[in-house]
Symmetry: D4
Subunit: 211 residues, 8 copies
């Protein structure tokens, strides 16, 4: 297995039957996994399994036991309330990988005063990295990156209308941000952002001889 990287099943487009079969296999073999991008229907089908813990807002489930060790700390911020599902996918994945998660939701730049608190806590609480989830407000990651000194992982979301183009505009705005210290993952990919954050924390633990 690839160190530090979780097993994961991509549920989107799979039939309920196929998904249940795959999940059962994991349970029988006593292996843990994440199941991402669940539909309403798939969520209902997984509710009967006691080995499965579902986060409905994040459309993500944990099968089996997560990693137990305290592996590091990550801050997860969203610009709006509509970005929260993607942030929850990131949060569940991060916790599954042993990270402590600080959530700061709906702190978009329209109200700059709302970012004071998360910036203060990121600076003071020994956070290893920040995941910034934003839809219509592509500017948030670079504003945050200008105020903290940890790596910022930006997650564009597909929230918006008109010129939003399903998140492409936000993705591009994030990528061309002048402010440095930002890297980006795919649109709505909270899962990938959290895996990346866990790898950053791991660099630290290795240096400290903990991994």
């Amino acid at each position: 297995e690839r160190a530090g990287k979780p097993e994961a099943v991509f549920a989107e487009g799979k039939s309920v039957e196929d998904l249940v079969k795959i999940v059962k296999r994991f349970i029988e073999e006593g292996k843990s996994t994440l199941v991402t991008r669940l539909s309403r229907e798939q969520i209902e089908a997984l509710k009967s399994f006691e080995e499965v813990k579902i986060n409905e807002r994040g459309r993500i489930a944990i099968v089996g036991k997560p990693v137990s060790a305290k592996a590091g700390k990550v801050a997860i911020l969203t610009a709006g309330t509509s970005d929260i599902p993607v942030a929850e996918e990131a949060a569940v994945t991060a916790e599954f990988l042993g990270l402590e998660v600080l959530r700061f939701y709906d702190v978009g730049v329209a109200g700059l005063h709302r970012i004071v608190e998360p910036v203060k806590r990121i600076r003071e609480e020994n956070v290893d990295s920040a995941i910034v989830v934003a839809g219509m407000e592509g500017a948030l990651p670079s504003v945050i990156a200008g105020l903290v000194d940890v790596p910022v992982i930006a997650v564009p979301t597909s929230v918006g209308y008109g010129v939003n183009l399903g998140g492409i505009t936000t993705l591009f705005a994030m990528l061309q941000s002048c402010s440095s210290g930002v890297a980006v993952v795919n649109i709505d990919n909270g899962f990938g952002a959290a895996v990346f954050a866990a790898l950053i924390s791991r660099v630290k633990r290795k240096a400290a001889g903990e991994d």
Copy 2:
């Protein structure tokens, strides 16, 4: 003639000969006009005319006399130094239309402290509108709009590389800005932004019975 809207010649793509012929006609008829988007070569050809006043950085020229009356006040801001040519196109147009121009260049969000001064002056000096010119930093107009109470006219520039797409990304980022009080003109269109600013000042003068 359309009230408050300047005559303007679009120089791009015209041969030097055609352009000189058009400019001569304006001079002979004693009419004023702007000439926009001049090439290096066209600028050289126009230098011999004393009736023509050229702003090389803004690639724009005034033929004949500008409007004399003090018509209002506009602030023009740029995010970077590379955005200045477009800002100068706007400034020359605004001055041609009788506006007083406050210039604040290279005040991009990467250094938020640099916007303190322009915001203060916009608030205190009776400015009617703000033109915000930005390339890689599409966020600047909405940040400014969040701090002042005049209309903000955003001008995306084609400065950038990679996902910038000749300014389309910046344009779209500006259009989907959550912060309200922003409207947008075409990429690199400093001319159009200034004409719009002059119309806003005109609303005020009409109310005051000055126009």
Copy 3:
């Protein structure tokens, strides 16, 4: 609070429960707000609140009391009947902000004679700005701007098929309009156009010492 800019909730993508919770909070705190881009289902849920006034065509609701002062005057035009919902979003927002609204619907350029009346009234009735809402007919704003001397705020709509591309073609046609005196907001963003119009009227009132 930012002067002249309304509080607003973006309903799209929010669950009915979340939206109701947010609206209740506004009511309890005695604060006013607009709620935009409501779905059919969300509209039904809000009908039970007497503090909420819904405009179904514009998919927009007012929670609490609008601004009372007469703040200025705006004309709102649409090219076709399919553009009316976006125009109504603008109209409700403008009225919420204290503007008087003149509505001229279905006056598209296919029948140039239909624009005679609105142009005449804009010229004679002391209107501060015009909002022009158009889908397949991107030419309307520049035609209007060529005939009046107030700022024209163009709102492209996503009405159309084939090469319309969800409104992008109309947006681009508006942005490249040769005729000056036009600025543009996001596709279907009647709300943003009205806020911008209110800021223009405010420039006038400030000059008159009324604000």
Copy 4:
């Protein structure tokens, strides 16, 4: 040979040597042809041939004798002066095919009064079709089509900047025009528009038993 359709050589991308060789072959065989989209260099090389008649502005040349018969009448309009080269490509092609050409250049919608004259002449002078060439002003063909009763062939040009996208925006604006009676050819394709106009005139002549 296909009736009514001219032989034509597409010069773009061909080496000067290859082009000269092809032209010589036509001269030797005593056949007529058009050569389109010539570069500055190619034009110089063709100047030595007395059988070749070059229109430099339209970047097009006639090799040999054009069709002599009076085949019909077409009006060619441009929105701006920058659209004239494409209009000349159309005009030379039309004349090569025996059509009489009425030219109306720089009559864009920004100045609606300028279209009065061409519309009057199209109505009164027995014109079979109108070719409308426009860059930044995609609205012109549908405005014209609303005022005349002959088929309008729209030619978008690549003149413009920013959101113009090399003419795609203008092309799409023309295609989605509400006003009916318009059909479109490729960007900058003056040649194709004229061939189409000649076919329309041919329908008439056939009915009159002239072809």
Copy 5:
């Protein structure tokens, strides 16, 4: 009224109530009109009116009496069977405008032998123009144009998958066709193609002193 151009209502996006109201007005005023792009639901609502004649496949209805005079002749071809609805929209419009229609459906280039018959009839039966409707097979219009000497009006359809992009690929393939004598209308716009065909036939009738 604009000569030769039908009154038409664009049904898409209109509520059933609004549409019925509009149609009733036409009936009361004794005026004829076409209603295009009808939804299943709208079609049901219009079935009760005896003055309305519906073509379900073409999603188009005639309200009132069509033009009676024999105005000319048009051939309508489709590449596949899936392109037939758009062809029917064109056919109903053409008949409404007094044209005689020759239908040749499912004659795509994959089976070149199938185009022998329509080409023969276009040549022999005094047809004024050909409308060629095609989805995945953008080549058909230029193949036809290479074999007949009447103007060919190409209508791209949105039939296809993968790189089809809702018809844009087919539209572009048609526009860049080397073969001349083709002009194009918007994707799925059978209506516009038929209006254009009627204008071509009108040129002929005018020459013959019939119009």
Copy 6:
């Protein structure tokens, strides 16, 4: 080494010095290679090496000895003369790999009679596959595929203007071709098409126990 796949150097974007260094290394080690997409300047620099054989039109060079065995037979067709450079890249690569090449250039569908000869020879001369190179005429591969029974490898070229989009339109038109028996490689990739053709011939030789 990968069986049947040539070593190849991609010259584009490499400095002349770097390229010469790489080529010298191949010569010293006695190894053969192709060098593709050479610039004018790079071609001049390689002319001094006697081990290098350059095809200027195809912008391709062979360093060292090609494969000697007769490996199979491929037909290479182009729609226009501007497509010949890409066809030559394919032809040189195919010959380097031991294939016999039948060239049929400028046989585009505008003149359907010109494809009679190549189709006849493909059928009669034991050809294993056909490479069809086309720019503005994306229809050619599927027309050919409808007439022969060997696999057709389509190569879109970037020749064209307007909606051509650097070859993307032609690529997409080829991919959505209804006619089956066609597969596609990257725009202008004559090299890749020839390698693919060699692999097809190789399947045959293996079956015959020759490889």
Copy 7:
């Protein structure tokens, strides 16, 4: 009939009635055909015909008898489990054309060890070509092509989200693959890939005098 190319009906967009009518005609005339891209509803309607054999996962049906002769061998690989429906469309088509099919599903590059087995079998079992079906993992075809010496036919699928763009990203990634020996068909076009594979096997059989 075109040798080696199956008759096929494209079911998408056809009404159930039309489709049943077409299928009945084939049965009555005793002819075989494939029916591709069936909807859930169309599948139900075809179940009553005993002459029709449906593969539900591949949304494809065989009407009548397939080709019986053993025509060659093809390997079909998928990157993920979500790519299997497209692979099944290819497999059914290949079998219909007489090919023996080796299926290797869910062998994506995320787990490189999983490709050992299919590569070994392709090398050892006299396979003529490989069809590689992949959605988010556009790299798989070139990785496979680097390890085997048969032609690789790549089929991008529309599986994915965010920047996937309905499969365009995967298509483009496959086309620009550095590794040679790959050609591509349209997104989700398993049918076309199989027809192409059958033509490759046919080249071999012809050489062996079997066809």
Copy 8:
């Protein structure tokens, strides 16, 4: 100053005079900075300054003294030789920020054996992160990420042709990579990748109490 983030001047689009003026100011004030994306001409102008150290291949210069402390270790890999300029921009930036750099150039997936060495060294030499620079081979970052357990920062380059779209295709292929542990920066942005790598190393040093 923002901790760990270098001062940097973006040279692209600046006049030589402006750039020299900016650089002189840094020298006079005794401050260090990077100057990125230098043109040939700008490089020549900076050569006269002894305080400026230029890396011509990477088009990047250091003005003044870099950070001296050993801050961590980063591996930089490229797929091809054409990607090296972007890698050098990253390497110079990383060294400026005090990182030790391991360079592994031209190790693209076409020759999988070439990645064995870099993967081994990344695992054994206490590397904190890997920057993977690739143009036509978007798959390399995810292949590397599947073999190492440090964060992988992917840098798409604009090297390529045809469907490459100036690097957008590679960018998108990297973003949709199934393999996790990858984050992406803008096309050609070696500078940003190195700043991000320095921040990762900084997390480690802070944990070790070194920063």
